[in-house]
């Protein structure tokens, strides 16, 4: 059994079952954005929206794992002062990967990418029933100690235009498409 089959055993939600789990699919990888081609300042809105269901919120907390009842039990969450089941602080990761599959922002899926750390600001709690949109902006790219950093500013809005969060999404990437394609073959495509 391959690793994708092993992982399929844990897929429970509608979105998890529908999402394409193979990040080494050549046709998809060839369409990603690459560090040396990404245009800083370019703005777009992710074409896919994310309708928040309770099962999405619960699935993220389970995957941390974080067993605080505010993430699972609506009645308990209301007693604690919330409107309903609470979104785990890092739930936005699920939203980001769900909506940034192709085109602008697709570099977050890059084989060979490394995560140096992130900045997140929260403005309004995510709730069940929210329909979330991500606005993306090529924010910065830089070279430090031979590594190629990429940063996007992603702003999350609900269906009423209310800002939910602002994430400065940062990764260290292979520099070129050729480097990424080496990783596709299982070869190291990074600086030594």
């Amino acid at each position: 059994m391959g690793y994708l089959d092993e992982m399929a055993k844990y897929q429970k939600t509608e979105k998890q079952k529908e999402f394409g789990a193979d990040f080494l699919k050549r046709d998809d990888v060839e369409e990603y954005e690459f560090w040396d081609e990404i245009e800083i300042g370019r703005e777009s809105e992710a074409p896919v929206k994310f309708e928040v269901k309770a099962e999405d919120l619960i699935a993220y907390a389970e995957g941390v794992p974080d067993d605080s009842p505010v993430f699972y039990n609506e009645e308990y969450a209301k007693k604690c002062g919330y409107d309903g089941i609470v979104a785990h602080p890092i739930f936005g990761t699920q939203v980001g990967f769900y909506v940034m599959r192709k085109g602008h922002g697709s570099w977050i899926r890059t084989p060979g990418a490394r995560n140096p750390g992130q900045i997140i600001e929260w403005y309004d709690p995510i709730k069940t029933g929210d329909i979330l949109t991500l606005k993306l902006q090529g924010y910065d790219k830089w070279i430090k100690r031979g590594k190629y950093y990429m940063r996007y500013l992603t702003e999350m809005y609900d269906q009423h235009g209310k800002l939910k969060s602002r994430m400065y999404v940062t990764l260290i990437l292979p520099r070129t498409k050729e480097d990424v394609m080496k990783f596709l073959k299982g070869e190291r495509g990074l600086e030594v």
Partner: protein, 147 residues
Amino acid sequence: MMKRVTFESVNCGDVLSEVRQHVDQEAIWKHAVASLDYNPVHNNPEWCRTARVFGLPVTVMHGNQTYSLMCKVITNWAYHSGGRMKRLEVKLIKPVPVNTTCTYGATVTEKHPIGRGEDFVALELWAKDQAGELVGVGSAQVYLPLK
């Protein structure tokens, strides 16, 4: 009964209860499915043997899982009292290979009596592996109810 955490009850220097978590391949896969981050560096042991993204021939934990667990220190502490994250900044220092046990902790460093229901505290966060080496550091700001 968990003690209610409020802006008035918290002091600079308060140390939060630590979280400890062992991460094996199953835990990494579960996090990948939860976050939809299927990057092979976390999930595909065979690919990692040759691709060696971090110079290691094994899978590594998601960076997102590291700071999700750093946040767990805060959610355990304040969310039953109605606390809410305002800001998080995390720097990941070194990769966490599969089959590592990490410990996560935090200390209150600042109190911001803003009023208008927007009082918040700042915390320093850390994550260490089983050898006691830092794998991540950061800071967070958390809204707390006044009383």
